[in-house]
Symmetry: D2
Subunit: 380 residues, 4 copies
């Protein structure tokens, strides 16, 4: 894994400038074995526990936030199959994820209601567009979600080969951060979905356990933030040691002996450690809930959701701060575009908007003050 | 322990207003068994591990920060005997701590240089004054520290009965917070100290292990901050639920349904959880180092010191914020002095000044940027 | 004025500990001429402009926040007469304010609905209780507000001599800050109010100009915050220069040469200057609106309210920060209760809760995003 | 001026992506008359006062931060001639600035010591390189600064035509922000400078008045920060009103009615207003000092420097916050690169590193605690 991370880091700044699909690096990930960490051993995967899987996402994000995101979301799609799918679907999709080195993309953005579905004799037909379809380019399969009715529980998840007739993955992602996540739009023109391609039973909205999917998504985001912050801080410390010149008025021979820089570095490190410790706690909480299997109830699910919400909140706020403040350590010369040191902030800036942190913070407070947990099938 | 905490909480606000020595509550602690948690089983104690001991301090601090401080410092003096004392001294002081229900006080403030020592035929003679002698009133024994020379390593720690001739514990602690810690001054007039009362060998400055004492002190501070913040936040949440009226313009029937209050509560809880998770990590790190015994080296000690410094820094900053912000949740009516809700902030405000947090933050940064750990016998 | 401020400052810490009514100091204010600053020259007053009046409140608050509050609210009651009263009432109340050295108190807290009013043959009868009646003790006249109906515009303001039969000023203010503002409760038992004692016409809810009263109240709060912060920072700087010992590890001979303390001092001063500059701008805006007289319209009033809301918000947040952080400059020895250095924070903490800053901040945002100004007769 | 600002704004996002020299827009500025605002009327200029000049820089920065920087630095070079130059030099350079529509660049970065100077028979010869030469591309004249000796007072400023033999303006500025300021390097190969081209007498280090030059530079930075923050916030408010969709869980029909967005908007606006009010105060302070002419003494200069340092500090910190936080208002869809909304943050991020804000904050504190003002010829 360290080897993969290093390989990604070597070209991350350059690829951030270029944007687009990272075909070479996606192949590197296919070959690395990191895409099958969440697949059970019964299907040829590694069946790693979630804390390990997500700390690997964190480590990759320190090197390359876009590719780490794709890896994290790969595990999220695998988890969707595990949590929503029937035994037959497990057999069909999980084994091939290993043997065919499948890379999963998604088209599940619940806020984009432009994708419509209608029932057909043999299943469903999809028409319309979904935005924010991370990883769809160069993917083998797509996890597609669409609402059959107005309730959050009426949402279905289908598995569709990306090359299926009628699917067009648009190359229209050009954002200020997370630039190689290919989070553009996917167009569906009369795309047929067989009944057996819709995950279930149990399906998406059947149980507290099934609703763990959303929480994996939140944990992936959390780890992306932490990884960026760690990458940024490590880079800044290295820069201060090796390249920064001491400030004339600071009265020191080396930049690293400047008390004001030390004060800043201590602040950032302390905050990042606290956010990381909280995330580690949330990872342990998640694994405990996962291990409960079907015994997990909605009260436990609600408490877990709050643990994870707190972790994501602290990670997000902290990473925004750390990735912006590293420049106070490094100084003006570190702003040359060649270094690409602003990509950490841009990545975190984009990704912390996945769903509003303020809403999540308010949700935490609502739970504390009223005991009400967030709705498990929505953004909770 | 919960019983003791509840008993302390019931009168904490009132005793905060009164100040002075909490004789009744000190006796309660003597009888509770909480004073012997750190004493090895071989001497009749409970030999609890440090994470448990310090989380008990945290819990007590949520109820009564002053008494929690005295309990924490009791364990610190016990640890001094364990770390610095000879086997003979272990026998003499640890068993009696249990059997005699000794309450330990201290006179070790290194910054106060008004206490002088001179060698005598049979040992030493102490003259002068020490300030900030927490827990000296009503104590049985005092841990006294005094410098024999200018180096931090030349400091000796002696164990002296508080009632020894020449010792006067002044009732001169009247501070804005931590009001019942009796952290006033102690006067020494020709106080004789036998050679065997000076802890050692190994003594204070012999090893990385011996230097763990300072770190216990830092952990006690950390837990006091967290306990105050937890107590404050719990009190505020209860107040919002049960007593606060909704703001007219908020458009809600109950205060707890006010989105702005929920947002605030979520912020405070998230930050406090992160600081707590980091402290828990530091507690585990400390126990690992403790368990290494004499094998602990100075590099490991330095890393541990940084872990604990980060924990104290985050706990301190967070607790200052949380204890000040609870009033935004509760509103104007919560400011009546009868509630005493400001005592949490006053306690944290006083205690975070034990030694400057900014200096500790800078020390963290120095370690990150230069690799240099803080001096282990000073304030590190 | 400097003489009065110095006289108040000399005993402020001691009186903060004592609480209660500051009879001596109230007499000092009566004799100082500072109570008639807002009275027009035609009635024997000084007719100072509002920026001057309110900067005097700021200066007094640096010395003694409680008494400054009483002075500020004196001007607020005078303004009530000016804005709401008829010419006859101007003659009756303003001249006597000067000649009789009247000190005005109030019983206007709109959130306390326990005071009821009924119409009588000759006017009204009041029954019930009002809380938060700042300055009622030792006052000559009370400004009393009570709702005739559910709308904010149905609130009447009456002027009643404090010694009138049926009025009991309770000595029940014992709060954590603003301890000598006598902001306790006033009981009304069948208190008769003549029709001519109800201010008007124009009355309270007649015009944009009349609604300036609330804004004076907000400006008084703003200046109280700034004064406390300035007093606190000045005290801290003096303490560092004259009493603080340098931190051993800082490597400096004098505390004031410690770079970390300089960094802190610079931070606090910069923030306080910005908040002060914004308040000065709001004062100028207010005077311009005042000078418009009856020509002021509700759009202008709304913009002015936003200017003042921003000023109060920044002043409040900044003062909470500055008054808490001065201890980082001064260190542990500054926490002795004798100094009373925590009273600045306690004063600001209490007073920033007058009405929720978060609600005001949200109101600012609403205006920016939707163009809707706050309701002028409520807390806007 | 509004016309020019609008013209710049129309293409600013696109040119930010492109980088490089904005030849069209530089010509627009030449033709706008904005380059001669600081030139006295005696030489055909507008002789605007400094508050007006600098508020125009602020306004331009809201539209296009790079071009605003070039305009601000134009005035700085004009001020250099005014403050350092002899009457003969005034005649030579100021009139032609108007008649020839000169655009001034600079090569004055004091921290880059790679430019050497040696005396020749007729003046000086320059050899070496200067970095951070804002506006050198497409400029007519360069203000070049080089040290004759180790003291800050030994620095000379020369005026050299950009096209002079031996001067190469490198196209090597490719930074993460301020992308069209052409702040790359300039190479000098045996560049001859006549004695009369060195500004003086009075020259650079002769008086408190001459040392006002640095403060203009600091004010330009301050206004660039404020302009970016104002531009960013205005853009965000417009976006919320016109493009943002309400968050599903917020329970509102329009995004602008979301209380959490209103709270955020209020926070940002309040902070920005405070920073702006402080800058306006500094502008007035500066003009007063300027108007003193030769009567300005070093004590007054020191106080002014502190006023300006505080303004820059608050503007910088606030602008970093505002430009990062606008995305909380706008949400995920606002991160598409087409909008270029991150350019405000990138511009401020780069420019706040001109010289370290922390050092300036410390300098403020040093002045408060010790009375010592910063060195007037260095970065003070």
């Amino acid at each position: 894994m360290e080897h993969t991370a290093s390989a990604l880091a070597a070209t991350a700044a350059e690829r951030d400038r270029a944007g687009g699909t990272a075909l070479t690096e996606r192949q590197l990930l296919r070959d690395s074995g990191l895409l099958t960490l969440a697949v059970p051993r019964a299907y040829g995967g590694q069946e790693a526990d979630w804390p390990l899987i997500l700390r690997i996402v964190r480590r990759l994000a320190a090197a390359d936030s876009s590719l780490a995101h794709l890896v994290g979301f790969q595990h999220l799609q695998v988890a969707s199959v595990l949590l929503f799918g029937s035994p037959v679907q497990h057999d069909r999709y999980l084994g091939a994820t290993v043997s065919q080195k499948w890379f999963w993309g998604n088209a599940v953005n619940a806020r984009d209601t432009r994708l419509s579905v209608r029932r057909t004799a043999s299943g469903y037909e999809l028409n319309g567009v979904k935005s924010f379809c991370s990883g769809a380019s160069d993917s083998d399969l797509l996890n597609v979600s669409v609402a059959l009715g107005p309730e959050p529980t009426e949402r279905i998840f289908a598995v569709v080969p990306t090359r299926r007739s009628g699917i067009t993955v648009n190359d229209d992602w050009d954002n200020l951060g997370q630039r190689q996540t290919d989070s553009g739009s996917v167009r569906f023109d009369r795309v047929e979905v067989a009944a057996g391609e819709v995950l279930g039973p149990p399906g998406a909205a059947s149980s507290a356990r099934a609703s763990l999917r959303n929480l994996i998504g939140q944990l992936v985001l959390t780890e992306i933030y932490l990884g960026n912050a760690q990458g940024a801080l490590a880079e800044a410390i290295g820069y201060v040691r090796e390249q920064a010149e001491p400030w004339p008025g600071a009265g020191v021979a080396r930049a690293q002996d400047d008390g004001l820089l030390q004060l800043r570095a201590g602040e950032l490190w302390g905050q990042l450690r606290a956010a990381t410790a909280l995330a580690d706690e949330a990872l342990r909480d998640f694994q405990r809930a996962w291990d409960l299997g079907g015994a997990l109830d909605f009260v436990q699910r609600g408490q877990l959701a709050m643990s994870i919400a707190a972790a994501r909140l602290q990670a997000g706020r902290t990473a925004l701060h750390v990735t912006a403040q590293i420049f106070e350590l490094m100084g003006a010369r570190a702003t040359t575009r060649r270094h690409g040191f602003d990509r950490y902030w841009r990545n975190v800036r984009v990704h912390t908007l996945h769903d509003p942190l303020d809403q999540r913070q308010k949700g935490l407070g609502r739970w504390l003050l009223t005991g009400q947990a967030p709705e498990p099938y929505g953004y909770g």
